[in-house]
């Protein structure tokens, strides 16, 4: 019989840091559980009705204990709060050099797409030592992308993009789970994260897309080039940054901050572009009229995704 595992795999130093915090919480919890249980048992025996323990009139000297009883827990939980928040915020923004993988949740599978267009279903191959950024959305209900070995999870929500990233530091195979209940085959919405040596990954990525179990991806399947066609057919008149155009430049601005009417600023990211296609008048760029109409009825959600991929590739190209 195999030994029973009682701790999850650790595949990144972030996971290790989370475990340290977990150990602190566990220590505090065990201490208080044992202390209170021991007191309850001790009192129940010492002061049982039949015992002749002395029970003077209610004593009034508990003030110091009372103060300690509220200050100590307060300090202990504030440590938990700051430590937990710091870890969470430190690990929030994906590093600049991340490889971006597109994740689409769908009842009941994970569809994944690498930057060069290569697709996978449920399996995700990544190189060791390189941060991986997942840009995720759902085609139907809410799912949640969960990597227990990395102590990370993020909901995958229809109608918007969510993001999560991790740095694989150990090669091997790890669980991918859907953590948000999503219907009949929820428990089969699982996959494998395969962390490979970098050269191996490069070879895997370059390998013909038609071999093995990996689904085929044709060249036109590359979302950015499909997006280019859609963009050119619908958007170029206003949004390529030509002087005097009716609309703001969308071609070279992905990832930058955009000034809005009314003084606000907004990051031009996936959600912003998506929202601009669906509800163009919600955020009006500074200096431009509210002239655009919604593309909700004209473009499918897949097409919108392709447009976003195209815009992203354009700004990356212009940044280099």
């Amino acid at each position: 019989m195999k030994a029973v595992k009682t701790a999850p795999d650790v595949a990144s130093s972030y996971a290790h840091q989370v475990d340290n915090l977990y150990a602190y919480l566990l220590g505090v919890s065990i201490f208080f559980t044992i202390a209170i249980c021991a007191l309850i048992i001790y009192f129940s025996v010492r002061y049982r009705r039949q015992s002749d323990a002395d029970r003077p009139e209610a004593t009034k000297d508990g003030k110091l204990l009372e103060i300690l009883g509220s200050v100590i827990p307060f300090v202990l939980v504030m440590i938990m709060f700051f430590w937990g928040a710091k870890l969470y915020f430190d690990a929030r923004i994906p590093p600049k050099d991340s490889i971006e993988v597109l994740v689409t949740g769908k009842q009941w599978m994970w569809k994944l797409q690498h930057p060069n267009g290569k697709r996978e279903i449920n399996d995700l191959h990544v190189p060791v030592g390189v941060p991986i950024k997942l840009t995720m959305t759902s085609e139907d209900v809410i799912h949640s992308f969960y990597l227990p070995a990395f102590r990370k999870k993020m909901d995958v929500v229809p109608g918007k993009y969510t993001q999560m990233w991790f740095l694989p530091e150990k090669t091997g195979e790890y669980h991918i789970f859907c953590a948000e209940y999503c219907g009949t085959e929820h428990s089969l919405m699982i996959g494998k994260l395969i962390v490979m040596e970098q050269q191996e990954y490069a070879a895997w990525l370059a390998k013909s897309w038609t071999d093995g179990n990996t689904p085929v991806a044709a060249a036109s399947d590359d979302p950015a080039s499909a997006g280019k066609e859609i963009f050119e057919a619908n958007c170029t008149v206003c949004h390529t940054g030509k002087p005097g155009a009716i609309g703001p430049d969308m071609m070279h601005a992905f990832g930058t901050m955009r000034q809005l009417e009314g003084g606000e600023e907004i990051l031009m990211d996936e959600n912003y572009v998506l929202n601009s296609m669906n509800n163009p008048n919600e955020h009006i760029a500074k200096g431009y009229p509210a002239a655009m109409t919604s593309f909700k009825a004209n473009l499918s959600s897949t097409q919108m995704k392709q447009v976003i991929a195209y815009l992203k590739s354009q700004s990356e190209a212009s940044a280099e």
């Binding site: 595992k5 009682t6 701790a7 999850p8 977990y22 919480l25 505090v28 919890s29 208080f32 559980t33 209170i36 007191l39 309850i40 009192f43 129940s44 049982r48 009705r49 323990a53 029970r55 209610a58 508990g62 009372e66 009883g69 509220s70 827990p73 939980v77 938990m80 709060f81 430590w83 937990g84 928040a85 870890l87 969470y88 915020f89 690990a91 009842q107 139907d140 209900v141 949640s144 969960y146 070995a149 102590r151 999870k153 993020m154 909901d155 929500v157 229809p158 109608g159 918007k160 669980h175 789970f177 953590a179 948000e180 209940y181 219907g183 009949t184 929820h186 428990s187 089969l188 669906n278």
Partner: protein, 541 residues
């Protein structure tokens, strides 16, 4: 006081009428409490059977007893029935109805007919939900997350949602009734600071019920509208926001945790005082902290949504408030423990349940800190760790407190004492069975096992197996408990009006079982709560 062990049975609320009609049309809060007891036990058994069935499935990693669809319907049914038809109404419906008027020296609640209506509304809501189960079931989980529930699920969401919607009104009306009763019906001399802590707890709970339950009702109505009439509120395909649903749902459902547990705090305070022969340490603190918890509890709902794509800064606020709400709770645990110090302790069945409550609820509270910690929550959210955590709070906390209260006031309600030995055996078996069931789930959760999985990775199997074994152990304890209590009803001898020698108007001034109007003469209160030096409690026959 009155000797109820005489040969001629005295008039009491039970023998005041024997027809079915005299029960179904009663406006006596005590009879309504007993009707709640009977119906809540039925719902509890239905929910427990569902749990027994899916625990069988979960014993092994492979799917072996049920299809995934049936499994999903079983855990959904377990959740909906246990939360809305057991945990929420259990203490207020049964003990609250029976005791609130008696404890404050009143003849009845402020609105007796409305009180009866509450029970009918509860039963109507329950019938809708049971109909949803019988007509093919519902598979959304008790949380009804959109857009799954409003668009994609292929089961009886509208029927079940309507059932929960209707039942909500029974909570609202009961809450309203208790608040008015406590304000307006207290006997002369029953000042606020003389109220039993049970009353304070009921009062705080009633406030949450009135403020929170309408939000749940509106939310479920919106789901029903979206599903039935295609409204675009939560469905992104129609411009809705699915995460909005979670905000609305948890705005009610986090405070609902306090709706379930605060009344339990009240029960535990009464039982501890009685069997330690002492006033609860820090009465004022325990009383007001219930109100504080009720108030802060409305501002922590986002801790259920750290990974939902809500703003990180919102998450930060929700995290710190969740920690702060833990402080008064931890002080309560210190207060209860301190009450034992230099007490005169008697380990009766209700006391064993109460001490069990303190231990289990404490574990539930401490593991809540893990989930309030942002970085830890991201890992543990939607895993078995969460399942274990809330069962420690709900079952280890609330159910143990409820059973403690049932055992404590059983002689008051029915005038009969149960077999104490078997009642204690039941309590101990439930306590250990509970730990066997739910402790392994903490480990499975930390190891990353998501909740609501029909099949799972074999690495988690040892924990799930233990858990299933524990569940049947605990089930045996519940059966012992049920049989012991029911058997007591067939006993001949009366238990006297104050078998525990407890303080409180219900013990010192009312018979067991009480007179139809609770007291035969108007009540005047001249003592503080929990005055165990008062000679009068020891004079009873």
């Amino acid at each position: 006081m009155n000797d109820s062990a005489k040969t001629e049975p005295k008039l009491n609320y039970l023998n005041a009428g024997n027809t079915v009609k005299s029960w179904l049309f009663t406006v006596d809060h005590k009879r309504i409490g007993v009707m709640y007891l009977a119906s809540i036990v039925v719902f509890f058994l239905v929910g427990a059977c569902a749990a027994a069935l899916f625990r069988m499935e979960l014993a092994t990693a492979a799917p072996d007893v049920f299809s995934n669809d049936t499994y999903n319907k079983l855990f959904t049914m377990h959740g909906i029935i246990m939360v809305f038809f057991f945990l929420i109404p259990a203490v207020p419906g049964v003990l609250g109805n029976f005791l609130v008027p008696i404890m404050i020296g009143a003849k009845d609640v402020a609105f007796p007919r409305l009180n009866l209506a509450s029970w009918y509304i509860y039963m109507l809501g329950g019938s809708f939900t049971l109909a949803a189960v019988l007509l093919g079931g519902i598979d959304t989980g008790w949380t009804f997350y959109t857009p799954y529930s409003s668009v994609y699920a292929d089961s009886n969401v509208i029927l079940a949602g309507t059932g929960v919607f209707i039942t909500g009104f029974s909570s609202i009306l009961t809450g309203l009734n208790f608040i008015v009763t406590v304000h307006k019906m207290r006997a002369p001399g029953m000042r606020w600071m003389r109220l039993p802590l049970f009353i304070w707890a009921q009062y705080a709970t009633s406030i949450i019920n009135i403020l929170g339950t309408p939000v749940l009702a509106i939310t479920l109505l919106l789901v029903v509208f979206e599903r039935g009439f295609g409204f675009g509120i939560f469905d992104p395909a129609k411009g809705g926001d699915p995460v909005l649903y979670q905000h609305l749902f948890w705005f009610y459902s986090h405070p609902a945790v306090y709706i379930m547990i605060l009344p339990g705090f009240g029960v535990v305070s009464e039982v501890l005082a009685c069997f330690s022969r002492k006033r609860i340490y820090g009465y004022e603190f325990v009383a007001f902290s219930s109100l504080a918890i009720a108030a802060i509890g409305f501002f922590v709902w986002g801790h259920h949504m750290f990974t939902s794509s809500q703003s990180e800064y919102a998450a930060l606020i929700f995290s710190i408030l969740s920690f702060l709400v833990g402080i008064p709770t931890s002080i309560k645990i210190f207060n209860w423990t301190a009450t034992l110090y230099k007490g005169s302790i008697e380990l009766t069945a209700p006391m064993i349940y109460t001490l069990g409550f303190i231990g289990l609820f404490m574990v539930g509270g401490l593991t809540g800190l893990f989930l309030a910690t942002m970085a830890i929550n991201v890992h543990l959210h939607d895993t078995y760790f969460v399942v274990a955590h809330f069962h420690y709070v709900m079952v280890g906390g609330m159910m143990m407190a409820w059973l403690s209260g049932i055992h404590f006031w059983w002689p008051k309600m029915f005038g009969k004492m149960y077999n104490e030995f078997w009642a204690k055996v039941g309590a101990v078996v439930i306590f250990f069975g509970f730990n066997f069931t739910f402790f392994p789930q903490f480990i499975a959760g930390y190891m990353g096992m998501p909740r609501r999985y029909h099949v799972y990775d074999v690495a988690y199997q040892p924990f799930q197996m233990l858990s299933t074994a524990g569940a049947f152990f605990m089930g045996a304890g519940l059966i012992i408990c049920l049989v012991t209590l029911v058997a007591s009803l067939f006993r001949k001898e009366s238990c006297g009006s104050n078998p525990w020698k407890a303080t409180g108007l219900e013990w010192t001034t009312a018979d067991s079982p009480p007179h139809p109007h609770n007291f035969e003469a108007p009540v005047v209160v001249d003592v503080e709560a929990y005055d165990y030096t008062d000679e009068r409690i020891y004079q009873d026959a």
